[in-house]
């Protein structure tokens, strides 16, 4: 259904303003050195010159802490109050990077694997993503090695590409995107001819050939490549928390007095306690086994079970790792070795 329009640099802030009248708008905001997706009320709050927000956009659909229901204990027993999905807000995220948007499809695959998760599904349904194509990249970016691109439309409802004049090429991709256009149809101009979007995209060189990645990583399972590579990993879980697709979670109860709630919290397969049995037995005993799980899950188990990869090559895990573990480098090594 893709339709191409033009959105002038003057129209862009007007569009944000128009959307904010009815929905909460979020976008990348600069806070000192940090760039993060924040609630905004006008376009001038948006960061302009950056590669990628520090945290991914996954928290819009999979928050760090998600209340699952609440309960009240009294002398007669326990009352349980279900959550009300109607309270999940309609939101628009503007300026989401194409890799983050593409990651939504992988998250969806995880959460809709039977039984489908209504909390996640509702959040995703009520969030509109206005992507912003990348015009700069760094050495950590490797989306192109995994079939993505700085101008990838996957997962976005509208994708904007900023041109040299500061105006935007707007690709209207879904019915949610159409709805945004109908809020302010006059701001979107018709275009003629090819606007040559590619000219305005960052150059992200291919770091490896992914054509046989799944077989190669399967072949590496019993080698010591994972142990060797993970020698320095501390299991701090930063990589999982910044990742747009890592979705491992824990379930815990939080109680205050007689009231409490059961919550779902971000967790990580890199953590030692993750699989530890109460008996003391741990099926993934070493950090190497846990690093292997991280890579196998993303590049073998998810493709096999869910038909999507668990990585879009955003590079965040490597940017944020305190001991410089680099996922692209690790993949490259096992592709060469196997």
């Amino acid at each position: 259904m893709s339709k191409i329009k033009k959105l002038s640099k003057e129209s862009f802030p007007l569009l944000i303003k128009k959307i904010s009248e009815t929905q909460h708008v979020y976008g990348p905001v600069s806070q000192g050195k940090r760039i993060s997706y924040q609630r905004i009320s006008s376009a001038d709050e948006l960061a302009s010159d950056f590669i990628i927000p520090d945290m991914s956009a996954k928290s819009f659909v999979f928050p760090k802490i998600e209340k699952l229901f609440s309960y009240t204990k009294n002398k007669d027993g326990v009352e349980v109050q279900d959550i009300n999905l109607d309270n999940i807000p309609h939101r628009v995220v503007v300026g989401i990077r194409p890799c983050d948007a593409a990651g939504m499809e992988s998250l969806k695959a995880i959460f809709s694997w039977d039984p489908s998760d209504p909390i996640f599904e509702t959040r995703l349904k009520r969030t509109t993503f206005i992507g912003l194509a990348c015009n700069q990249a760094d050495d950590y970016c490797f989306c192109t090695s995994l079939g993505g691109s700085p101008g990838d439309t996957k997962g976005s409802d509208i994708l904007l590409t900023k041109t040299d004049t500061g105006d935007y090429i707007a690709e209207i991709l879904t019915s949610k995107g159409e709805k945004i256009v109908t809020l302010a149809p006059d701001l979107f101009q018709d275009v003629e001819g090819d606007l040559q979007k590619e000219k305005f995209l960052a150059n992200v060189p291919k770091r490896f050939d992914n054509s046989d990645l799944q077989n190669k990583i399967n072949a590496a399972f019993n080698t010591d490549v994972f142990d060797e590579y993970a020698m320095r990993c501390m299991g701090c879980s930063a990589c999982a928390f910044v990742c747009p697709i890592c979705a491992c979670f824990d379930i815990q109860d939080e109680t205050k007095g007689s009231k409490g709630q059961r919550v779902r919290l971000w967790d990580s397969c890199g953590a030692k306690l993750f699989t530890l049995h109460t008996s003391g037995h741990n099926p993934r005993e070493t950090q190497g086994a846990r690093w292997r799980q991280r890579l196998m899950h993303k590049f073998s188990y998810m493709p096999e079970r869910l038909e999507v990869r668990g990585c879009v090559g955003c590079g965040r895990c490597s940017r944020r790792c305190p001991v410089d573990m680099n996922i692209a480098e690790s993949l490259n090594q096992l592709i060469i070795d196997n």
Partner: protein, 278 residues
């Protein structure tokens, strides 16, 4: 609207049985009769049991699916949730969500002999399938049960063991580890695999189900193989750490296999294909 998949049913602890030191069986009944009406499970499946304020714990459903209106679980007190459960009294409320996972293919076993081999507190998943088969006794040929625990005191379901012992249509072999016997003990003394080897059940037209601590399973499989059991005819269950029970939390997988969705019931042939991450 679809039901919140994380929302447990509220169940009343209808009956508590002390089985062995730190091991209890709870009989749970639905507080909401409509939920009881709509609920069903099959033998082999598990569930998430919770104490509100303490969290959830994974146990198999220990009662047979042939008996409706309640579910039972048997658990050992080892940590936070199981301690909180142990502190409950009859009439208290717990959370229960499930059933999850696959089932023992008891229909495929019709017309065959069944050999059940269990160690310690691993009798619960077995108890469910044993009673389910006994409730359909005419569908199966010989039924033998091997059960062992560390000491006489540690044997769970003592009452039911007695019942099985007295039934002419069940062969029950009980054993305790060397040193675990009492002067009155009339059963075997020795580790489970040793006793299985000694009694040597025939592999001809027979299904074996083995549940127990990893070391017992590891030592029992070779004995069965020596007796001529094919890996496809040996069943067991895996117990990887779980949170969600439905393939999302990322905790229980062994390679590409999710114990919560593809298991917990596996054949020895299937286990042989899995990486050693259980």
């Amino acid at each position: 609207m679809e039901r919140n998949i994380y929302l447990p049913y509220r169940m009343k602890v209808a009956k508590i049985t002390e089985e062995a030191p730190a091991v209890r069986t709870f009989r749970l009944e639905f507080l909401d009769p409509a939920e009881a009406e709509n609920f069903s499970f099959k033998t082999g499946q598990f569930a998430e049991y919770s104490v509100f304020g303490e969290g959830e714990s994974t146990f198999c459903i220990a009662s047979p699916h042939t008996r409706k209106g309640y579910v039972e679980c048997t658990f050992r007190q080892v940590g936070r949730v199981t301690t909180a459960l142990s502190n409950l009294e009859e009439g208290d409320t717990v959370g229960f969500r499930g059933p999850y996972g696959n089932t023992f293919p008891i229909d495929e076993w019709k017309g065959k002999n069944l050999v059940f081999i269990a160690g310690g507190i691993a009798l619960p998943p077995m108890r469910s399938v044993i009673w389910t088969c006994l409730d359909n006794r005419k569908d199966y040929k010989d039924i033998s049960i091997f059960y062992g625990a560390k000491t006489v005191n540690d044997l769970v379901y003592k009452h039911e063991l007695k019942e099985w012992e007295e039934r002419p249509d069940v062969n029950l072999y009980q054993t305790v580890d060397p040193g675990g016997e009492t002067p009155e003990w009339k059963g075997e003394v020795g580790f489970v695999p040793t006793i299985v080897e000694k009694i040597a059940p025939s592999a001809e037209n027979t299904i074996a189900v083995v549940c127990g601590p990893p070391i017992m399973i590891k030592n029992t499989f070779p004995v069965l193989q020596k007796l001529g059991f094919k890996d496809e005819n040996i069943y067991t269950t895996l117990e990887n750490r779980m949170k969600c029970g439905f393939g999302k939390c990322g905790r229980c997988n062994v390679g590409k296999t999710y114990v919560c969705k593809d298991g917990p019931v596996f054949t020895a042939a299937q286990l042989a294909e899995l990486p050693n991450e259980y």
